[in-house]
């Protein structure tokens, strides 16, 4: 089975800090995604990447950036964390094209104080 690993289960950061969320997948998937999940809003796409060094904005990219230097690793960066970025962050990966099924990590619950 595909394994998608997120580096932290829980994170507590202070306003203004630079935050790195790391995600690694072990199945050579081309596509990787970062979502945030908030109660009542479902999952919203922040950024995705379809190849190494390639990235595309999702629906809510403001305040975030991403890095994909290696195929297996996709990092989400909060340049200057704010309290409204307190959320559950979910990384996912998928092979090829065609909107096939996503494989998710366990999530990182980020609290910004």
């Amino acid at each position: 089975d595909v394994k998608v690993t997120q580096s932290s289960r829980y994170l507590v950061k202070r306003t203004g800090e630079k935050v790195f969320l790391e995600c690694v997948q072990d199945m050579d998937h081309e596509n990787m995604f970062w979502y945030r999940q908030d109660p009542g809003l479902g999952l919203r796409l922040i950024y995705f990447s379809y190849d190494v060094k390639m990235k595309e904005k999702g629906d809510i990219p403001e305040g975030y950036s991403v890095s994909r230097e290696k195929k297996e690793r996709f990092s989400l960066i909060l340049e200057s964390a704010s309290t409204n970025q307190t959320s559950m962050y979910l990384c996912a990966s998928r092979r090829g094209q065609g909107n096939e099924k996503l494989f998710f990590g366990s999530g990182t619950q980020l609290s910004v104080l």
Binding site: V4, N31, G40, R44, L45, Y50, N99
Partner: protein, 111 residues
């Protein structure tokens, strides 16, 4: 933008009963997927139905798709306490990369 919308938002049933969740979406799709999320965890893919399919089964799961009404339903038969979770529908558009999720249905199965 939120594509899928699940109904109901929450559902509470007894063990052994069937649970039905509905999903509506707005634009043309090439497939529709259902995912499950246990509390505080990542999502797990349950089933995918393509736009040219009307019904699909997987174990105790039955999914229907009506593209004319832009709607889908997920039926879980003979529910168990372990089915307690949130269920999300998600849609993928033709030629696109994005998978768009709804807000989910919270299912609680009482033992």
């Amino acid at each position: 933008s939120q594509q899928g919308e699940e109904d109901p938002q929450a559902l509470s049933i007894q063990e052994g009963e069937n649970a039905t969740m509905n999903c509506s979406y707005k634009t043309s799709i090439n497939n529709l997927q259902w995912y499950r999320q246990n509390s505080g965890r990542g999502l797990v893919h349950l089933i995918l139905i393509r736009s040219n399919e009307r019904e699909k089964h997987s174990g105790r799961l039955r999914v229907t798709l009506d593209t004319s009404k832009k709607s889908s339903s997920l039926l879980i038969t003979a529910s168990r306490a372990a089915d307690t979770a949130s269920y999300f529908c998600a849609t993928g558009s033709t030629g696109g990369f994005k998978t768009i999720f709804g807000a989910g249905t919270r299912l609680f199965v009482k033992a």
